[in-house]
Amino acid sequence: MTENDSDLVLDGNAAAGLLQEIFALEITTAQIQCDTCGSVGAVGSLRLYAAPMGAVLRCPNCDARLMTAVRTPLGRWLEMTGARRLRF
């Protein structure tokens, strides 16, 4: 538990457990392209927010939201509107 703002952010790698419930292929090394700034990087290198509620993965270059995943009792949700594409 923290009041320190800088402790909030994690790396995409930390969301791997949740994401790997959804993706058949290894997700942390998949290359993802940001639709806002065009930069490409590994999903494991994205900035992870809101981990206790789900996974909000943002572009390390421009902070655009690339992937958001939530695990609920009824299933899993995945949104990827900010990402142009993924390459596995």
């Binding site: 402790d7 994690l10 790396d11 790698n13 930390a14 791997a16 457990g17 058949a24 494991g44 290198s45």
Partner: protein, 252 residues
């Protein structure tokens, strides 16, 4: 590093505690037998799940601190005050106990000896765990890859794996271990006494031209500071992999 490796289905497996090793006064290593364990790469982590008798469950992630060469899987856990899981693991757990575990997870933050580049590791506190898996793998394979560990701890008593690291470094001319003690230093301490800063990094480093693979693991503030400094010193951001440990002390 195979980038197209298929993910395995992450099923929950049963882990049995074989041995518990005291590392420091608030850190223990749990040596686990996981039947059917398929192996892992240094740097990966696992999720563990504890179930109470009333059905209450708690789940946390911990980095694997043992190398792939070991038969038993080791997790190194720091007790977080007011935590829900770590006090149980550090204070209550006994050999013979069991919990659920799934993994290994996360091929992004891994290192193997199948490389030509130097290895540069920077750790804060208990976040040394995944980096120790890398150094142990390197030692087991007797790899001559130049390696440097910069390890920030509050005091000498807080340095996890201290004797093992000293022994590794003294027997290996290609490995350098640099400790910095940020809060309390023993009398006569000739090493660094402050948080990792530009000067400290410039003093113990690889040059950008050497193309080191850099892994930084620690509290978010350390990771962000060190990453920026490394980029300022001319290192390629793509060569820097980070694992921020949240306030709970584990990777998530």
């Amino acid at each position: 590093m195979t980038e197209t490796a298929p993910g395995r289905r992450l099923d929950w497996q049963l882990a049995q505690v074989r041995e518990i090793a005291v590392e420091t006064f608030r850190v223990k290593s749990l040596l686990l037998q996981v039947p059917g364990w398929q192996g892992h790469l240094s740097g990966q982590h696992v999720d563990i799940r504890l179930t109470a008798e009333d059905g209450y469950q708690a789940q946390r992630s911990y980095s694997i601190s043992s190398p792939p060469e070991d038969e038993l899987l080791t997790l190194t856990v720091e007790k977080v005050d007011n935590g829900e899981v770590s006090p149980y693991l550090v204070d209550d757990l006994r050999a013979g106990d069991q919990f659920e575990l799934r993994g290994p997870i996360g091929r992004y933050f891994v290192w193997t000896v199948a490389t030509v580049w130097p290895l540069w590791l920077i750790a804060g506190g208990s976040c040394i765990a995944p980096l120790m898996a890398m150094l142990r793998h390197r030692a087991r394979r007797k790899a001559r890859i130049p390696a440097l560990l910069i390890y920030s701890s509050r005091s000498l008593e807080d340095v996890i794996y201290r004797e093992e690291l000293d022994a590794m470094a003294s027997h290996d001319p290609d490995l350098r271990v640099v400790n910095t003690l940020t809060r309390k230093q023993p009398t006569g301490w000739a090493g660094h006494r402050r948080r990792i800063d530009k000067e400290l990094l410039a003093d113990a480093c690889f040059q950008p031209g050497q193309n080191p693979e850099i892994f930084v693991c620690g509290p978010t503030s350390l990771v962000e500071t060190v990453s920026s400094l490394l980029v300022e010193l001319g290192h390629d951001p793509l060569g820097i992999k980070t694992e921020r440990f949240g306030p709970s002390g584990a990777a998530s």
